[in-house]
């Protein structure tokens, strides 16, 4: 017992240690996004660990999930250790800056959802432009765009997660091919949502492919 050889299969790619942190507001589909990424990673031969928030936090609160790939066993991501951060809502993206390091790649939705204290005038929602300017100064790469509008354009306001996944897949930062993610989406999506989800994915990818859209790269 105990030798490292028989612990778990090694991945093909030696530089594949990758920590992805997803954050958003309950109902935005962060859990589905991390699960799809996990499924795609597994289909590509990895041993992904995906951790999720359930229960109380889903009632309009913050929902985070994490995906860890490579020769790592921990399912969680500590402050300062996310290699990729996906922010589904502007304020939550900025709040998750504490998970980022100087080389983190960030893809974030600039659309806002007012937290309750803001809605009733007891707190102020920070300036979105200001948050993303600061974020851009701290991380390795930042793509910030209105994923909500693109999701509606694709015919499904709930497809923000697909837009973000599409943008992520169009970067070269994942050891998983876009096609692997797409085939998981095709397999796991109900017929009537499939076309809009695929379109949302493509709209996100198109934004990421355009270098001029990146606040920092």
């Amino acid at each position: 017992m105990g030798s490292t050889e028989n612990r778990k299969p090694k991945t093909e790619n030696p530089k594949a240690n990758l920590r992805i942190f997803l954050t958003g507001v309950g109902g935005q589909g962060t859990l589905l996004a991390s699960r799809l990424l996990g499924e795609a990673a597994m289909a590509a031969g990895y041993n992904p660990m995906v951790s999720e928030t359930h229960g109380m936090a889903q009632r309009g609160g913050i929902v985070v999930s994490t995906l860890v790939l490579g020769d790592l066993q921990s399912p969680l991501i500590s402050p300062g250790e996310a290699d990729i951060m996906l922010g589904f809502e502007a304020l939550e993206a900025f709040r998750a800056l504490d998970r980022c390091h100087a080389k983190t790649l960030v893809i974030a939705n600039t659309a806002t959802m007012a937290p309750y204290p803001v809605a009733i005038g007891q707190a102020r929602y920070p300036s979105v432009a200001q948050m993303f300017r600061r974020l851009a100064e701290q991380v390795g790469a930042l793509l910030a765009f209105d994923a909500g509008t693109l999701a509606r354009q694709a015919g499904s306001p709930l497809a923000v997660n697909m837009v973000i996944l599409g943008a992520l897949a169009a970067t070269d930062s994942l050891p998983i091919a876009a096609e692997d993610i797409l085939s998981v989406i095709r397999r796991g999506t109900k017929e009537k949502f499939l076309a809009s989800n695929l379109q949302a994915f493509e709209l996100g990818a198109a934004v990421a492919r355009e270098p001029g859209n990146w606040l920092r790269r």
Binding site: P48, M49, V50, M56, R59, G80, F94, R95, M131
Partner: protein
């Protein structure tokens, strides 16, 4: 078909820890599963319910954890393999049964899942249930990953049958709610009916019988300890004069930390999965050559105490540390960076971890919190509002013992309708104590599922003892907080649900309550009038607020309310809705002159606010501005 019923042996699937436990149980040939829903264990019941609709698996959402455990124990006594799942505090409810079931023992394998919740993601405490294994004298396995959760569930059934006692499978939230690769085995067929063979002088726990049963339990513990000594779940790796002992999820953080700190060939690692009884010989042999040992475990120093006992017994000079200043806390969930830092500090090696960025500092202003909130259109909020306004109109302060469910969120402003909470069912009995002690106006709130869970004895007591308070039963027709599981009072069962419906009004009357008001909380005038009458009455009286959870209703019926409401005229300085109601669809426009507005994307169309605010009107009606 449930995805847990598909796939061939050897195939790898991405499963939630809870799904891995269910798959393991199915591969072990589990015949009956019982549970009371509770995060982080809920998905075990949800998946088993689904599977029970598709196969011959027997499953029930029992009314509480004690009932669940006893139903399972009865079936296990007849030779069936059974699984009983609950959250950590559920084991407290089941503890009376658990302690003596350990004496009675089982014939068919019995696995009890205790899902602990370090960091209290959705719980009222973060107790460490490993001590239950010690208290009850039962074997315990602790998985760290979904894969281990499946493998250990299978092993736990075999272990239980070998030792003839229930086995605890102790998880934490981070196991239950992590998805990881799981290798499938073959699904097992389930046997038909079992048979109860009479053996009263082993199975009826009167003192004379129990004295002998305790002897058998201690013998089973010795046997279990011997098995733990050689268990594959207790694994030693690495080499060196230093050591780390760990179990559960922190073991994964330790593994990564040793790699990242370059300590893999300096530290000997003992990862324990079979953690009660502790394998004393193995621990002693592990400790003997070492100079210093760090124990990495979340919550209480369970392993640390065990290791120190072994070291003392053997007279070993090794330094053993775990909890303490500059080391690990007894509080909250750990994470990889924290474990790496403490490991580095303890062994005196450098750890290059720059402090994380602080978003507030970088922005130069605080970030607004995002507290969870009752949904727009939630019937609980409507009932809370009526009670709030009724008390205001009567000029009386209310004291609000509350209970466990979505409605506990009534704690937060602006509702602020929660003053005292201990555990499931405590609203009713603490209300009795508070009103007896003070004579203040006490209004207790309890949900429908919680009422059946542990409200019934409390209400019978309150009536019998002539206490004086108003009990509001917030009946939304389901166990909403944990994902809408059914219970005896469900007004709207999932299609094909076989359970018999027990109407709450009949239960309340049968328990001796003479004064009962039943209201639809969305009908404001009626519910306000009934609430005032109920508040002014004396003795134990019940106000039953009946309206389905809107999320659940939409899921079951497919119907969605299409009406939407808007603020048609400026409402000036009036902030009644924000100060007393707090619907998340309502917001103030930014700016000094900001008017109240209703977000049409968030409005559920419940039509409650329109009944008490003349400035709110249906969209499309009258002179509404667009």
């Amino acid at each position: 078909m449930s995805e847990l019923l598909t796939g061939h042996a050897g195939e790898r699937r991405l499963f939630l820890g809870n799904e891995a436990i269910v798959r393991g149980a199915l591969e072990a040939g589990v015949v009956l599963v019982t549970t009371y829903p509770g995060t982080p264990a809920s998905e075990i019941g949800d998946r088993c319910y689904e599977i029970s609709r598709q196969t011959d698996l027997h499953f029930e959402f029992s009314t509480n954890e004690k009932v669940a455990l006893e139903v399972a124990a009865g079936a296990a006594a007849c030779g069936w393999r059974v699984l009983c799942a609950m959250k950590h505090v559920g084991v407290n409810v089941a503890a009376d049964a658990l302690m003596t079931l350990a004496y009675v023992g089982v014939k068919g394998g019995m696995v009890i899942v205790s899902a602990d919740d370090p960091s209290l993601f959705s719980s009222q405490n973060e107790q460490d249930n490993r001590y239950y294994a010690k208290l009850a004298g039962l074997p315990m396995l602790e998985p760290a990953t979904p894969e281990e959760a499946k493998v250990m569930t299978l092993a736990a059934f075999a272990l239980s049958e070998e030792l003839k006692v229930p086995v605890l499978l102790r998880t934490t939230t981070r196991v239950n709610h992590t998805r990881g690769p799981v290798t499938l085995g073959e699904l097992a067929a389930r046997p038909g009916p079992g048979r109860f063979y009479k053996d009263p002088f082993r199975q009826v726990m009167v003192p004379a019988v129990a004295r002998q049963a305790h002897v058998r339990l201690l013998a089973a513990q010795d046997q279990a300890r011997a098995l733990a000594e050689t268990s594959v779940f207790n694994e030693i790796s690495g080499r060196g004069a230093w050591g780390i002992v760990t179990s559960s999820v922190p073991g994964t953080y330790v593994a990564d930390a040793l790699t990242e700190l370059g300590l893999a060939d300096k530290v000997r690692l003992l990862k324990l999965g079979f953690t009660h009884p502790l394998p004393e010989a193995l621990l002693g042999d592990f400790l003997a050559p070492l100079t210093k040992v760090l124990v990495v475990e979340e919550l209480e120093p369970y392993l640390e105490e065990g290791l120190k006992t072994v070291a003392q017994t053997r007279g070993l000079p090794v330094t053993i540390r775990g909890k303490g200043p500059d080391l690990f806390s007894r509080l909250y969930e750990y994470h990889p960076g924290l474990v790496r830092e403490v490991v580095a500090r303890f062994f005196g090696v450098a750890s290059e971890a720059p402090g994380p960025m602080v978003p507030e500092k970088i922005l130069g202003q605080p970030l607004p919190d995002r507290p969870p909130n009752l949904c727009a259109g939630c019937p609980h909020r409507a009932m809370y509002y009526a009670v709030k306004i009724a008390l205001k109109d009567l000029g009386v302060e209310g004291i609000f013992p509350t209970d466990i469910g979505c409605y506990t969120l009534g704690l937060l402003p602006p509702l602020s309708m929660a003053d005292f909470l201990i555990c499931m069912g405590s609203s009713i009995s603490t209300a009795a104590g508070i009103s007896r002690a003070t004579g203040q106006k006490v209004v207790a709130f309890i949900g429908d599922s919680t009422f059946f869970h542990s409200g019934l004895p409390a209400l019978a007591n309150a009536v019998h003892q002539k206490h004086d308070f108003l009990l509001v039963i917030l009946d939304n027709g389901t166990t909403a907080m944990t994902g809408s599981q059914p219970h005896p009072g469900v007004s709207m069962a999932p299609p094909g649900f076989p359970g018999v419906h027990i109407p709450i009004p009949r239960v309340v009357k049968a328990l001796g309550v003479e004064q009962l008001w039943v209201v639809n909380p969305y009908k404001y005038k009626e519910s306000l009038a009934a609430t005032k009458a109920a508040l002014e009455a004396k003795g134990v009286r019940v106000l039953l607020s009946q309206a389905p959870c809107i999320l659940y209703e939409a899921r079951i019926t497919g119907k969605k309310r299409t009406a939407r409401f808007q603020v048609t005229r400026g409402c000036g300085e009036c902030r009644d809705c924000l100060d007393n109601f707090g619907c998340p669809a309502m917001y103030l426009e930014s700016g000094a002159e900001g008017q109240l507005q209703i977000d049409p994307d968030l409005c559920s169309g419940c039509a409650f606010c329109v009944q008490w605010c003349e400035n709110i009107r249906p969209v499309g009606a009258g002179k509404g501005k667009e």
